[in-house]
Symmetry: C2
Subunit: 332 residues, 2 copies
């Protein structure tokens, strides 16, 4: 069967089935989370590694982005994975597959973006690799290495029923921004466009949630709120219940919802939010809000986990909503 008929989740199942889960040899976590976690013999700290790929035409287009912004985004997507483990990023490597028609100015701008994001995040470039794309398109892979104390790392599967569910920032801005770039809308939604082109990893929030042991489970929203919420609850063998009106919106997405019937379809299914979605024990609310204050970053309690393994989102009439799209599907 072709991948376009199978979809990404089935592909990941195939890959997972090809491997018995790696254990021993210092491995704390192999597949199935935002990053791998390994611990060197005799070391106080665990090492986290993640790798992400951006493909021209799919994850970025030269027609509406710039190499500078692509560089920033390339690093951000992997920084976000490290943050989602409650860890701190330390080093990165960049693997570039570039068209021979690419210019040196393009590469310089790409690295200016990488460099700027790296400095903000306090990570150092330690390696990489460049290859010609031949007749193909540009493909860029970032690998980020982080570290954390083993007992502070936050995995996907730690949630229990009756906990609070939180997310950082706002939902769906990137999806709205992408929509603006692809079609003519009456509103410019400039902040949403910026959020799509220059996503920020929530590095400090993630690290603090880990270091202060505030979250029971966490991931970053990269393939759409609904899809990633479903991954988090499935991993924790819990369900979730929330009010649609509790989901945090920006000025742009609030306006979009106001103007668009069924607008939530886009916001809850579009990818690349790069916000953190996590669960926490009741009673941690004040500690979590103090991180929000320290960082000037919105962190919203959006609902709670339930023992029934289903996700229920209630609209303002207290009726469960039905969404047309479930999240971003690679390959399909």
């Amino acid at each position: 069967m072709k991948l376009k008929d199978l979809g990404e989740d089935a592909l990941i199942d195939i890959i997972a089935a090809a491997y018995s889960p790696a254990t021993g040899n210092g491995i704390e976590k192999a597949l199935g989370d935002d990053t791998s976690v390994t611990t060197q013999e005799g070391s106080r700290l665990s090492t986290l590694v993640t790798t992400d790929t951006l493909v021209e035409g799919l994850h970025f287009k030269d027609s509406y982005s710039t190499p500078y912004l692509i560089g920033k985004k390339l690093l951000s997507v992997s920084l976000s994975d490290i943050a989602a483990m409650g860890a701190r990023a330390k080093y990165f490597l960049i693997s570039l597959v570039l068209s021979p028609e690419c210019t040196d100015d393009y590469v310089k701008e790409l690295y200016r973006g990488l460099n700027e994001r790296a400095e903000e995040a306090g990570v150092a470039l330690i390696g990489g690799n460049t290859t010609s794309a031949g007749n193909g398109t540009n493909v860029m892979t970032s690998t980020v290495i982080g570290e954390a104390q083993a007992e502070k790392i936050i995995y996907r599967e730690g949630a229990s029923a009756g906990e609070d569910i939180y997310m950082t920032g706002t939902v769906g801005d990137s999806a709205l921004g992408l929509k603006v770039l692809g079609e003519d809308l009456n509103e410019p939604y400039k902040d949403a466009v910026r959020r799509h082109l220059d996503p920020q990893a929530r590095s400090e929030a993630g690290a603090l949630l880990g270091e202060r042991s505030l979250a029971t489970s966490m991931l970053d929203i990269s393939d759409g709120f609904m899809k990633d919420l479903s991954r988090l609850t499935t991993a924790g063998k819990v369900g979730a219940k929330m009010m649609l009106t509790d989901l945090p919106l920006s000025t742009d997405t609030a306006k979009y919802i106001e103007l668009t019937p069924k607008g939530y379809d886009l916001l809850l299914s579009g990818g690349e939010d790069y916000e953190l979605l996590f669960t926490a024990k009741k009673g941690k609310a004040m500690d979590i809000q103090s991180i929000s204050k320290e960082l000037g970053l919105r962190i919203t309690n959006i609902g709670e986990t339930t023992s029934e393994e289903e996700i229920i989102i209630l609209d303002h009439d207290n009726k469960p909503i039905e969404l047309k799209f479930k999240g971003f599907e690679h390959f399909k």
Copy 2:
């Protein structure tokens, strides 16, 4: 200027210039060697990371390879980098950009190859990422993580004048194999074809050279013997002098040389040998040969380093040879 006019080395210079060399924060080596080397605070061992990318149509073709062999090769190329540091590989991650037209059988075969090579090398899959290639070609990236005691790691720049130069295996088989796949030759050169499609990383030889402190500098031959020899001597600020007849040939390459005037042009410039090229103090010859015996792997003393920073290869008449090609040039 376009990358096809600049070439890979100029591109790497641009990238290096965009960055002041990263130091501190546990970094022993960032750019400029086969892998990065970092050491976690308080750890006895250093961590080595390398990333390599194979592009369909350039590094492999479905018309003459199989996904099983591509999987093996994908891992081998990164294992070879770890070996070239005198270290042992431990974990790997795979990032796949696959066409939606790709089948699940293709992916299964790819992972069967990866799995087999991983078991041989004793490395465990700990992570990765899959993305659609859209309308583009398949691009596959392997990231391998290894470890070694910091003081045992072998860098590119350690050579001094008056040392012996060695290489493992034989030279140019992969280039000959690729030639066979691309055009009709009178001889089938089957072993050379196999060497191109299924290169072996010299993992155990590399690790033992490191652990026994036998090499002063080392790299793997991936972009052609001449180009990589020149990288090794440039890094060590030395030259090299050798006899053409001392270069180790396989049955296939020896026959090719016999039948082909100027046949060395191909063998010394073609990429993807994945043999180790290293320098060692005089007096280490017996220790090096005992590794050769232990592993049943040819290791040949091919010449010596000189204080004049030039590479001289003498033919059977003691005349310096001139090569038409200098090595594999990405982008050009």
